[in-house]
Symmetry: C2
Subunit: 330 residues, 2 copies
């Protein structure tokens, strides 16, 4: 394996000069540059990335942290990896499986100089605990949180949810059920607010509404299907905080002998690939741009740059799980 010294000898210059042409830093005369270039080709020289990293103290690598695989992870991972490569960064992947210690281990890698920064897709520890690690490198997430030390490329779910509800209302639905995620989640709180405002504006009785929070566990779709089927007065429509859970719900409902949208309308959230396959009406909120913005934040922090972020937008994706001319069940 040829090193910088071999090239220097072959070109008849010093290794500093070779280093200069390789890295592009500093002035090099045309003749020297050409001699070096030729010597590099002759010797088949390849800069040793390990040595460069060691020298610079940077790994040009960003950790991507998640508990485990789920549908949305794919989109995110793909976009994030893409943009990172464009800026010369690599992605190191970690699945914690929900293990707090493993998550901390991953965060610790910033201390150990194995990664330069971290993006968190799904976490296990408290945000406070995580935030403490920001002293070792930038941390970003797409979750909506409020911390001075963790960047959040969130989208306010309030607007998207109001959009969903108005759409259901305009289609004729009045008995709407709301399936929400973790009660502590800021987006859940935004949804709660949206529900409040919506019922007030439409002068509907909020007390009658079925609102289910913390439906973000493994099999919650199944559970909700069962609950819905056992209701005395069933909802006409269900608005979900996630396509994934909505898909589980529809899947389970089918087994119970009901069908969507004939027996109940369903609207999801995410516009995941799953939703496309299952014809699920949903809300798209530029996941990809959230990934981009998170990366840009990390990149800016690491390189002292100020690349601007991308604007985010919310959009309703109409498919087949909501009837546009619903006039009430017989």
């Amino acid at each position: 394996m040829a090193t910088i010294i071999d090239v220097a000898k072959a070109a008849g210059v010093s290794k500093s000069t070779v280093s200069r042409v390789v890295s592009g830093n500093g002035y090099v005369s045309k003749e020297s540059r050409e001699k070096v270039l030729k010597a590099m080709a002759d010797t088949g020289y390849i800069p040793n990335a390990l040595a460069r990293h060691f020298q610079s103290g940077e790994t040009k690598t960003i950790g991507f942290l998640a508990q485990g695989y789920f549908d949305t992870l794919g989109v995110f991972l793909e976009t994030f990896t893409q943009i990172a490569r464009n800026y010369g960064y690599f992605i190191h992947l970690y699945f914690t499986g929900g293990d707090k210690q493993k998550e901390l281990d991953a965060l610790n890698l910033m201390k150990y100089k194995q990664i330069d920064g971290v993006f968190i897709l799904t976490r296990s520890n408290d945000w406070e605990t995580i935030a403490a690690y920001s002293m070792y490198g930038p941390i970003a997430t797409w979750h909506r949180i409020d911390s001075p030390n963790i960047y959040s490329s969130y989208v306010d779910h309030y607007d998207g949810y109001v959009m969903s509800l108005n759409y259901l209302y305009d289609c004729g639905y009045r008995k709407i059920g709301h399936i929400l995620g973790s009660a502590k989640n800021l987006n859940t709180q935004a949804r709660l607010q949206a529900i409040d405002d919506f019922y007030r504006e439409k002068k509907l009785a909020l007390a009658d509404a079925w609102v289910s929070t913390n439906s973000n566990f493994e099999r919650s779709g199944q559970v909700i299907a069962k609950q819905w089927a056992e209701q005395d007065e069933r909802c006409d429509a269900l608005a979900f905080f996630s396509d994934d859970i909505a898909a589980q719900f529809m899947s389970s409902l089918q087994l119970l002998g009901y069908s969507v949208p004939d027996d109940v309308a369903v609207i999801g959230f995410d516009n995941s690939r799953l939703s496309e396959l299952m014809h699920l009406t949903t809300v798209e909120y530029s996941l990809d741009k959230q990934a981009v913005n998170s990366f840009i934040y990390i990149y800016n922090a690491l390189n002292d740059k100020k690349i601007p972020e991308e604007p985010l937008a919310v959009r309703l994706v109409k498919r087949l799980t909501v009837q546009e001319d619903f006039r009430g069940h017989a």
Copy 2:
């Protein structure tokens, strides 16, 4: 940031001794070890991974290469990442987007000492082209290929496919359509052989069978749905080489106004999460173990070990897209 020298000073020993206790190589007296351990704790010493990598010439990182995201990737990635961590390796992720050059760039990282080995989930270049890079480090894939330089943790799809076909036959289906992947793929060839043997054994007229190869493009599920609907004499059942395409097919069929399994039975292959959600009868063939075996191969090659691989198995997963008592369409 404390270095090995700081620890040495604090402990009153040389840095060699510190190195010895940290790495565990060589003899160190009990007293020295304790002094060092205390000094490490006092100074908050953390070995610099960059320096160690530089020193050893290893990155303890394996590249995971794919064109882009798809359902099965999730399972694979999760298992692969898991086992890698257990053996002290990290996963570097690359999406090529089908770009041949980007794939080569990723392979080149082995030369550049940025990764120690590579696992390929979906490729863009010819296997021959890829095999040339095995001189820089071990390469493994789950694809069924025959190359002395690339390890393959494949499962012979022959058995699984015969299992599918026999199941359909036993349920009463006679007009079976076969949707296969790339004609060059060895598994496709195994399926073709399975079809041949099956029709011969059951004394069915092979000439009548609908066999569609190269159905592995972006929207092939939609195309097949259309073709099926336009057939003069429609198949009773369709056997797919992949859950993903089968799911697309069912999804499209629904839009065309047909239903599964009433109008046509469908059997997939992979037992992906998607198949579970869509109640798709399918074949499971221990994807996770393929991931494990691929990693083990890479690990063994890198560390000159001989850890044994895991045995693979094939299993039919009965769900709702095949009627068990099918007696022919009216």
